[in-house]
C-alpha cells in the first residue's frame, strides 16, 4: 500500500502527540543511479497508522504498533512505537519521495535530482 509523504510541520505535531516510547526500526540503505532506497522493518504497523514527513531536510517516520490484549506471558520486542529520522543527503529531490508499506516492510524511494546523478564523461582520444 502506498504511504503519503507529508511536508513540513508534521514532525513537530507527531512528536507532541506521541505518548508511548519508540524504538528505531532496523534499516537497509541502498542506492542506484537514480535513487536511494531505504528499507525499514516495521512489523505490525499499518499504512493508516504510519506517518512519513519531510522537514528541514530530514525524513521522519512515526508508526504505531497495536496494543496487546490478554495476559502477556512473554514479550521480546519493546512495548513501543516506531520512530526513525534520516537526514536526506544533498541532491535528493524531496518533492518526489515515494513510499510503500508491504508485509511490515516500509520502502522509501528518494529520487536523486538530475544534477546529482553520476554521468559517464566520454574521453576523446
Amino acid at each position: 500500500m502506498d504511504v503519503q509523504v507529508q511536508h513540513g510541520r508534521g514532525r513537530a505535531d507527531a512528536r507532541a502527540t506521541r505518548a508511548r516510547p519508540a524504538v528505531t526500526p532496523p534499516v537497509d540503505i541502498l542506492e542506484n543511479e537514480a535513487e536511494i532506497l531505504l528499507l525499514a522493518d516495521v512489523p505490525g504497523a499499518t499504512a493508516a497508522e504510519l506517518n512519513l514527513t519531510v522537514e528541514h531536510g530530514v525524513l521522519s517516520l512515526q508508526a504505531k504498533t497495536p496494543a496487546l490484549t490478554g495476559e502477556v506471558l512473554l514479550r521480546e520486542s519493546a512495548d513501543a512505537d516506531y520512530q526513525l529520522a534520516f537526514r536526506l543527503p544533498r541532491g535528493v529531490d524531496s518533492d518526489h519521495i515515494a513510499a510503500a508499506l508491504k508485509d511490515g516492510v516500509l520502502s522509501v524511494k528518494l529520487p536523486k535530482r538530475e544534477t546529482a546523478r553520476s554521468r559517464r564523461i566520454p574521453v576523446s582520444a
Partner: protein, 139 residues
Amino acid sequence: MLLDSWRANPNAFFRSPFFTFDPWALERQSAPAVVTDDGQNFVVSLEIPGVPEADIQLTVTGQTLTVSAKRKLEVPEGYVVHQQGRQGGAISRSFRLPAKIDADSARAVVRDGVLTVTLPRAAAEKARAIQVQAAQPSA
C-alpha cells in the same frame, strides 16, 4: 555516489541528534516473539517482516509450538548496499505453552509482517465459570 561522504564517516551520522540510539538493536532476536493468554487461547506472535506464508512451517508437539521460517533479504538488481541493519536468514523458534492445547483447532495468519498463531486451550483446560446460587432462605 551520493552517500560516499557519509560512508567515509558513518559514526557522524549515528551521533547526529536525529538518530535515536536503540539499545535493543544490539541483542535483538532474529524474530522477536510475544505470547499472550486470553483465558481461551494462547496467542503466539512473531515478527517476520517480508516473509511469505509459503516459507513458514508450523508444528505442534504436545504443548510445544515450533516455528521455522526463512527470511530472504534480496538486494534488488542494480543497487549498491550502503547499510544493512535488517537481518535475514533462518528462523527457528520453539514455545512451550503452560497448558495443553487443542492442536486441531489452531489457526495461523500472517499480517503486516507479523505471524499470529492462535492455539486454543484443550477443552479440559478451559477455565469454567461456576455459577453461585443464592441459598434458599432457611425457615
